[in-house]
Symmetry: C2
């Protein structure tokens, strides 16, 4: 068993090979994923500047700048990398690093752009729970490739304490997005998240749960069977190493990844001050479409949804169907939502005079064209001009003594 320091030295000395990730480099990122809370602008910059291997060596040796050292603090001393990697392997997980081919670089590019815009001084930077910082590494559990699943993916997020309405809609959306070949990404929580994942799985489609705890002990435990199925058909993804607990602040930090990995975010139910709203704001800042499913205004679980729809800065789009979601995130020209079906009426396309004559016709007793003209407010000649068309359309009929409305058509299959 080589020590972390030996592995790092090896990695530093080895020539870089395209498509091959040195074990020491992967171990360096594994170490960082435990030592550093994700979403820390300065630490991400430090790693980007000196490289992950050198970053870990300096942090271990105490030669990193003081501002960086304080971000790691007491965690600098420990090294659980081999245990973490072994633990991951045991549950069918792996550590994905930006140097891997499978890294969803294209999707996550928006985070790299966003972090570049953060100010130099820490006191001016965005709070860590809201800062848009790329992940240093991702623990991934499941057989699918993350880059492929993320390429055509939509986030569906919402309340944990959701209503039957919200779960129904989330399940339908998940199912229909899955059927259309879109990956549903969510947070694996109770309520909307779970319903969206389940809908996708029911359609036989892979789905991705982005967690704020270790992929070996996904939280909440009550979703255990669901996580098992997701790991089989899709992916469990986390920035935190195996065994990590889902601490409260981590949920907010995690939300930027749900927004960042997907082409757009759909909020199904969200209370007034909710994580789903936070995810929607991350998506908006990343330039991704924010879509919102409305609900009854009497429901506290839709207050956050309606706030998003009223907020002009967010520019959220109201969606009611998966087709409308796909239209919002799909490629222009493809994936257009079909117009909603409307009931057709034989009155459509009638002239103003024809409509007035039609409305003047009685239901029972037939009346003369002269009487119709008087009721409709037009010339008798006008009445005589429009009556044939109304009769052809099956709207009026001649009783032998006058004109009246035709009875409505019988439904197909009715007795004659």
């Amino acid at each position: 068993m080589t020590t972390l320091e030996e592995d790092l030295e090896d990695a530093a000395a080895a020539p870089q090979q395209v498509g091959v990730v040195h074990p020491g480099l992967r171990r360096a990122r594994a170490w960082l994923s435990r030592a550093v809370e994700p979403g820390t602008v300065d630490l991400w910059r430090f790693v980007a500047d000196v490289g992950p291997v050198e970053a870990v060596r300096r942090l271990r040796a105490g030669s990193a700048p003081p501002g960086i050292r304080s971000l790691v603090g007491a965690r600098a001393e420990g090294d659980a990398t081999l245990a973490d990697l072994r633990r991951a392997e045991r549950c069918g997980a792996r550590l994905l690093v930006p140097e891997d081919d499978e890294w969803p670089a294209y999707r996550l590019h928006a985070l790299t752009v966003a972090v570049a815009e953060e100010p130099v001084h820490r006191r001016d930077q965005t709070d860590r729970t809201r800062a848009l910082v790329p992940p240093l590494a991702l623990w991934v559990r499941g057989a699918a490739r993350l880059d492929e699943l993320a390429e055509r993916s939509v986030a569906v997020v919402g309340a944990r304490a959701s209503s039957a309405y919200g779960e129904h809609v989330a399940g339908e959306l998940g199912h229909q997005l899955g059927e259309r070949g879109w990956t549903v990404v969510s947070g694996g929580a109770f309520g909307i998240d779970g319903a969206a994942h389940r809908g996708a799985l029911a359609a036989g489609a892979p789905t991705v749960a982005v967690l704020s705890c270790g992929v070996d002990r996904p939280y909440p435990a009550g979703n255990g069977a669901l996580f098992h199925r997701i790991a089989e058909d899709g992916l469990l993804v986390s920035e935190w190493p195996p065994g990590c607990a889902p601490l409260r602040h981590r949920f907010l930090v995690r939300n930027r990844l749900i927004a960042g990995l997907t082409r757009g975010t759909v909020v199904v139910e969200a209370a007034a001050r909710s994580g789903a709203q936070a995810t929607a704001h991350r998506a908006q800042k990343l330039g991704r479409p924010v879509m919102v499913v409305p609900g009854p205004v009497t429901s506290a679980l839709s207050v956050g949804c309606h706030e998003l729809l009223r907020d002009e800065k967010v520019g959220a789009v109201l969606v009611t169907t998966a087709a409308q979601v796909v239209e919002a995130v799909g490629r222009i020209g493809e994936d257009l939502a079909p117009p909603l079906e409307r009931p057709d009426s034989p009155r459509d396309g009638l002239s103003d005079v024809a409509v007035r004559v039609l409305d003047a016709c009685p239901v029972r007793m037939g009346v003369s064209p002269e009487r119709l003209a008087r009721s409709a407010g037009c010339d008798v000649l006008d009445v005589l001009r429009v009556l044939p068309a109304l009769e052809l359309a099956g709207l009026v009929e001649w009783t032998g003594r006058g004109w009246r409305l035709a009875p409505p058509p019988k439904p197909p299959g009715a007795a004659p």
Copy 2:
């Protein structure tokens, strides 16, 4: 009893007096209101050009242009003006004409602007059910002044076959708008219209029902008691003379008045192809705010609402409360909706390190600052710096042996 022709001659010869409407002029407009279906661009222009008295004289004498004569057709022969005016008087109604002080000229000005934009040739003009044409006269039943009620008014419209949800929301909106001193204008129909009227009346506020039939026999008969109360506290308004039936095409023609008389239109529930959507489109064309109450996406009765909200051309605003409605139609700076109340959390305003230390604190057994530093990923000095603030906020406590989370505060009034 003077004949119509004598009265017209008198009116034509009489000098115009400000604030005084000659009986012959009112009789001319009464005649027009029965002879002409409202919303007819060319007839409105003819009356505007030659004046109502001369317009009626020429139509009666057969000397009006043929295109105008054909719009009146067989109705030119009849004269029910005295009977209509008497019938109105019997039910407490009157004929309001543009020459009256009470005419809501300021509100209806947008219709005058809109009709001026209609093309010259009839074949190019907007269909009569959609044309924005000012009314030639209004039959008004009730003691209130229409101009005063219309000045601070909002239309609340929606489906007839509404759901309990829609009726609840419409009733609440009507009530709260009434309480705030706004007049609710609607169509007097079953469902949303009726609920909105009833809500306003329950708040002791006047409300206006704009009908597509005579004000002496308001339709539907099932709303008879409601119409009676509206006539007592508010107004029943119609372009059609007493006794007229609510023919189908008249509903659409009427809708422009609901939009035109008000500062904005709120749609509560609307199916995919509905009169409420039509009213919203009229309001938008008149430059008045269109407001829409969303509903469950599973409800066919909210499909039209969500279509309006998705239609960028309409530019509809999602509203969930009367305060938001008033904000949209009220004067800038006044009538701002208060921000929705949000639950406050003692975590608000905590620094990143403080949140991490807080999340690292166990529920039961107290732990040392060193252990907290390791869990939170920061220096022990940082932990010692933030602990006093967390303790002051009542979030953590010292057990004598270590730090743990403080129990949540007891609700007021709970046993000690």
